[in-house]
């Protein structure tokens, strides 16, 4: 786990350390196990829905990408911080075995009701640099005061 971020240490415009994952079929099967989503779209290369969707290979669960954004936001908040909300839209499909990178940037800092709040833009990018899952997050960070 990285060092704990404190409110005073983060700056608007600051980038989050990128988080990269290239899920193979085993990873997607483990995600099916963890999430309960056993849609064969994600692990069966003979699944009849692939062709009508214009796909030549299995794709990553949207919620898997959401969870990767979640990992990055959770790491930014640290054990002493708290994630208030995070959300994404699913704009593009990602095939398995390809690199997906989570990037983020601090967009605002404010204090509200005694809490120190940081807002972020977060998203996943495919290997071509396209944003497939754009989103935002709001995090409460501890203060050094």
């Amino acid at each position: 786990m990285a060092d704990q971020n404190y409110f005073e240490d983060v700056a608007v415009g600051q980038k989050l350390p990128p988080l990269t994952i290239a899920p193979d079929k085993q990873q997607l099967v483990k995600f099916a196990a963890g999430s309960g989503d056993f849609n064969p779209l994600h692990f069966d290369e003979n699944f009849p829905m692939l062709k009508p969707m214009g796909l030549s290979e299995n794709i990553v669960h949207g919620r898997f990408k959401y969870a990767q954004v979640g990992r990055a936001v959770f790491a930014f908040a640290g054990y002493k911080g708290r994630v208030q909300r995070f959300g994404v839209s699913y704009r593009g499909m990602d095939p398995l075995n390809k690199e997906i990178t989570v990037n983020g940037v601090v967009t605002a800092k404010r204090q509200e009701g005694g809490e120190h709040i940081v807002e972020l833009d977060v998203w996943t990018e495919n290997a071509d640099g396209q944003k497939t899952t754009p989103g935002t997050a709001v995090v409460v960070l501890p203060s050094r005061e």
């Binding site: 079929k25 085993q26 196990a33 692990f43 290369e45």
Partner: protein, 143 residues
């Protein structure tokens, strides 16, 4: 679940009701989830073929579990499975029938309990015994 079977109703040499299974690839992934065995030969065809297999195969432990289900269905709520096991001699594939069968080999009463021993096995569509095994159960008595 049918009616409870009693020790007196059972004859040596008798076959117990069969259980037919047919695993989709989704079923194999569900088993990976339930068992924690994520070995790729059960859902990743490329991986399976790289290890020298023709294609995906059914987990041995899943076939063992099917035999457990065969026995569980037969002994009923008042019966108990004491022990069962099998060897994984032949491979079974997804999307293919797996027939679970059992034959009573012995009946005995001992220390107030009524034991039934069985041969159990899974069979592929060619009639080959892919997972031969044995079981010992206890059944209630009408006495």
């Amino acid at each position: 679940m049918g009616e409870q079977v009693y020790f007196e109703d059972v004859r040596e040499g008798e076959e117990i009701p069969q259980l037919k299974k047919n695993c989709s690839t989704q079923q194999l992934v569900l088993w990976a989830a339930g068992s924690g065995d994520f070995y790729q030969i059960h859902y990743d065809k490329d991986f399976a073929q790289r290890t020298g297999l023709k294609g995906l195969i059914v987990h041995g432990a899943l076939k063992n579990a099917f035999l457990g289900q065969l026995l569980h269905d037969w002994v009923g709520e008042q019966g108990q499975i004491r022990r069962f096991g099998c060897s994984y001699r032949g491979m079974d594939e997804p999307d293919q029938d797996i027939l679970c069968r059992g034959i009573v080999t012995k009946k005995r009463s001992e220390d107030g309990r009524h034991y039934v021993e069985l041969d159990v096995w899974t069979e592929n569509p060619d009639g080959k015994k892919t997972s031969p095994g044995t079981a010992i159960v206890t059944l209630p008595s009408r006495a």
